[in-house]
Symmetry: D2
Subunit: 148 residues, 4 copies
Amino acid sequence: MDEAAAEVQERVRASFERQGLMEHLGARISHIGPGRVHIVLPSRPEVTQQHGHFHAGATSAIADSAGGYAAFTLFREDSSVLTVEYKINLLAPAEGDHLEAVGTVLKSGRTLTVCRLEVFALQGATRTLVAAGQQTLIQIEARPERRA
Amino acid sequence: MDEAAAEVQERVRASFERQGLMEHLGARISHIGPGRVHIVLPSRPEVTQQHGHFHAGATSAIADSAGGYAAFTLFREDSSVLTVEYKINLLAPAEGDHLEAVGTVLKSGRTLTVCRLEVFALQGATRTLVAAGQQTLIQIEARPERRA
Amino acid sequence: MDEAAAEVQERVRASFERQGLMEHLGARISHIGPGRVHIVLPSRPEVTQQHGHFHAGATSAIADSAGGYAAFTLFREDSSVLTVEYKINLLAPAEGDHLEAVGTVLKSGRTLTVCRLEVFALQGATRTLVAAGQQTLIQIEARPERRA
Amino acid sequence: MDEAAAEVQERVRASFERQGLMEHLGARISHIGPGRVHIVLPSRPEVTQQHGHFHAGATSAIADSAGGYAAFTLFREDSSVLTVEYKINLLAPAEGDHLEAVGTVLKSGRTLTVCRLEVFALQGATRTLVAAGQQTLIQIEARPERRA
């Protein structure tokens, strides 16, 4: 898979590190390509629901962030990204060693960008699609990000 | 607002306590009515995005849980609830002392239930609608929940 | 229910009449309020699916238009409205004398507007909620509309 | 592309012909594969919105039907399909000679099926993605379909 330009990767990683929630969940970025970002979330009790699987909220949180940063890789340097809305289907119980969320830009516009969201559960060599969604994002003028 | 029957409240609270993610985020249930559940999430750095506001993932996680338990209050005693899908619009920056997610059953069917999702940001006396969504849930035979 | 200003009503009706699809389906506007529009669709074989009920496509088409014009009532005079996306749940079989779609603005922003969509089936004195949804719209500079 | 079994194709076409709306719009099925159905809609004034493009309601109607029949190709012979909900993004103005809606099964379950929806506008040799969505369907016991 293609890697995004170094400057873009740096911008994405710097922003990701300012997201308290991602660190709190234990999520990390595993790939930054042009219009495509992967985020990985290891399994642990802090991200589960009542049956011991990954909570839909955790699954959605990394899907939303993956899509947001996928859009961000194609934005102007002096811009910020906000999620307008997203829709997600939980297709199968999210169980495994870790989740991998993949955000992919479907359509990049001047104001709005639309991403496809996919989340896979990985258990050993098995990779199962556990969630699929679609997201709308808006490009706005950069606003100061909080200090990490 | 009406309170749900004591037995139903107990069932909801017991299940909620088994959700590692809700405890990890610091969320708690503030109201359990028939077909309506409120969940509160106090502000703290662990639930933020890069601008210091509540992360859309945290906002969505409590909205999803509020809708799920709202549906659950109307289910048979020996059943479980799973989120099929949801859609959420982030309407305004989610900033304030805490968030309040409100899940309300719109239509309760034998197999599927549809909920309206709303999330408000509370700052002193101000209550702002920051997210609105809609969710589909399925009633399934009870599956053992993990020990808390 | 409040009526929108005469100038706004005229602008909405003029645009509606240029929608070939609405006329082809037999739909008409029954209410134009500030941030709220109703569209009525009488039952006839041309708008059915395979079981003889209203087709989800017809139900959605009037819901989408009701939301679009609800947003439009709050827009600048020299602007146009485009649907960015919508999500709709089909809650019950859509059968009856006619459908009534209600679009209501939830949040009106400078660029984006979010509407709640509801569709009711009316049979004599009975009014049943058969579809519920949520829609995102964008305000753009006016573009010439086709001649009716 | 794979074709579905003759018996399945026949079942899909028979059901499609009972949809008054599809005939009224002028839509026809152009491909029936296992878990994948294409529907084509030629341009004409009866399916337009106020700017003369295809109306989002027409775009959505064929997308919804394409997904519904894609799911149906994988169902038991004695079953019916109902749309639970769908979400669709309108990505670009839908203009051209005709539209092609493609419904593809993402996940086929015992009760619920999830489809990806895509709509392309075709103008000469150009094929543009104008809408993308996701849909949830339910398999129910066959109910009698109306006579064509």
